[in-house]
Symmetry: C2
Subunit: 318 residues, 2 copies
């Protein structure tokens, strides 16, 4: 059993990731780098307790993706999973709006057990990933609890209740990261921030996926001072999110829904913003802001797309 | 939600039960009595924590049987259950010798959650059973932890490790009920002992199933003083257990493997011992011990068998 995640050699790349878009690029990077050359730091602001079990949706999406178990159709959970346990929980009168497959349940059961045994989320994450054959280091953003909570026109909603339970329909007026101000970046994240040669901010929701990571004290400052190349891939293409509610949220928060706004969000922590060919006309605006735009095809449908984008990003390191 | 199990009208019958044989007769009694007329008190000496979840094998066998969900082929678990979560747990390097189906996992997840919420095992048991439509009152023998541990030629083994993990193969020299001396009978059990008109000791293993119940202080004395008819159904037929290791254990403990030995075990707490027609010749020995033998067919294969035996037992009440 692994007791503490460690990095044997300096990682070439530290990727910050949230949900599905993040997992796609993380996979592209994993397939383009040697094992040990990639550290993926994952949002845990969506973590939630369901049925007494600790569920880490983004950590699991990354783990299932990197281990080849992910359900690529839905973007969450394990491929070919069954939903027998959840159906039975329904018979016990339990609210089952959050879909959890049987294989997925095993992950949450095991995580909960290891956490109850006193292991940190970093240690648990490392053990689960290694068990499934993941050769990259996957670390949670923090071992402390940070909860992304949304102020909406239906009241305050925790992330999963908003995103899954209410299908991202309520109108958002503010995004809060409860606990972030007292949270500490996970040891593996801190280590990678100190040793990585390149930082990649995956095309994840700036408010719901990367926002919680950046809300941890000192993280933003440390990224600002990060000596290697800092590359961000825009989650916004052609005036909307490639997937998910990022575009809708930007609009609700009164922001411009474009990759230019992404540049604004990351102005102090981004050297290169990778934008899609559809947004080529916006490149000069980004350039003017002091960020180098890289125009390429950033919509990842196939493994080839993911690897091609990853390789193009990796060439920026030099 | 039910907060406390209660008995609205005096129950006609209190049945003490353990595993499969107990569940069969409990079902026969349930099918022969009106709802509310039966309280089933169940052994929890086999309870064990698997993967951080509280598993109550005998409580579940009774619940699945009374709710019509039981797997009658195997004698444990839910019919047509799948084993997807357990298979995934195996990928996490977890020991999966104890078979747990996906539907069964839901029960343990829910039980564990409710216990963590501060409910007693009695309250949890009642809630789970009512959710599945069980109209009888099912109570654990105690809300306190009692662990059946076996001294064997392979060392000390907890019940499930002996019974499932080692397929009841080790030779037993002693049966211990850890925690029994400080445990209290569950409120619903105490209530039924005070109010029931008849006590039925189901054909369960005297050492592994009914032994833990009788090991709780005051329970044996209260049964001794119980004013109604006390009927026991022999788990031994024709010199061996109908199912399970009761016969083997009796032999290992240096006891006679027969229904006469069952009479000896319950000498002070049994008015009528129901024995099988195969054992008719032993009836006079039982009679001589001061227990009334009732000779009938006690092997329950069909629902009709279960109902027939239950009805024959119920006629003894008068």
């Amino acid at each position: 059993m692994v007791t503490s995640p460690g990095i044997s050699s300096p990682p070439a790349v530290l990727a910050l990731a949230g949900g599905v878009g993040g997992a796609k690029l993380a996979l592209g990077l994993a397939l383009s780098l040697d094992p040990g050359e990639l550290v993926v730091c994952v949002n845990t602001g969506d973590d939630e307790t369901f049925h007494g079990l600790h569920v880490s949706p983004d950590l699991d999406t990354i783990m299932y993706t990197l281990s080849g178990l992910s359900n690529e159709e839905t973007g969450w959970g394990v491929a070919d999973d069954t939903f027998t346990a959840l159906e039975m929980l329904g018979k016990f009168g339990v609210d089952t709006w959050f879909n959890l497959g049987d294989r997925d349940f095993a992950t949450h059961i095991r995580r909960t057990q290891l956490l109850a045994d006193g292991k940190t989320l970093s240690e648990v994450t490392d053990e689960l990933n290694r068990s499934l054959g993941v050769t990259q280091l996957v670390v949670p953003m923090s071992d402390d609890s940070v909860k992304t909570v949304l102020a909406t026109d239906e009241g305050e909603l925790p992330m999963q209740r908003y995103f899954v339970g209410r299908r991202a329909e309520p109108k958002i007026s503010e995004v809060r990261y409860l606990g972030a101000d007292t949270a500490t970046a996970a040891p593996g994240f801190q280590d990678a921030l100190a040793r990585a040669g390149m930082l990649v901010m995956c095309p994840s929701n700036p408010y719901l996926s990367l926002g919680p990571i950046l809300a941890i004290p000192a993280v933003r400052q440390r990224i600002r001072a990060f000596p290697g190349k800092k590359v961000c891939v825009s989650p916004i293409v052609g005036g909307d999110a490639v997937k998910g509610p990022a575009g809708k949220i930007m609009a609700e928060l009164g922001k411009e829904v474009s990759c230019v706004q992404v540049a604004r969000e990351y102005l102090d922590i981004c050297d290169v913003l990778v934008i899609d060919v559809q947004d080529e006309a916006l490149a000069p605006q980004i350039q003017e802001m002091g960020i180098t735009p890289l125009v390429t095809s950033i919509i990842m449908k196939t493994s080839q797309d993911k690897i091609a984008l990853a390789k193009e990003i990796l060439t920026l390191a030099n």
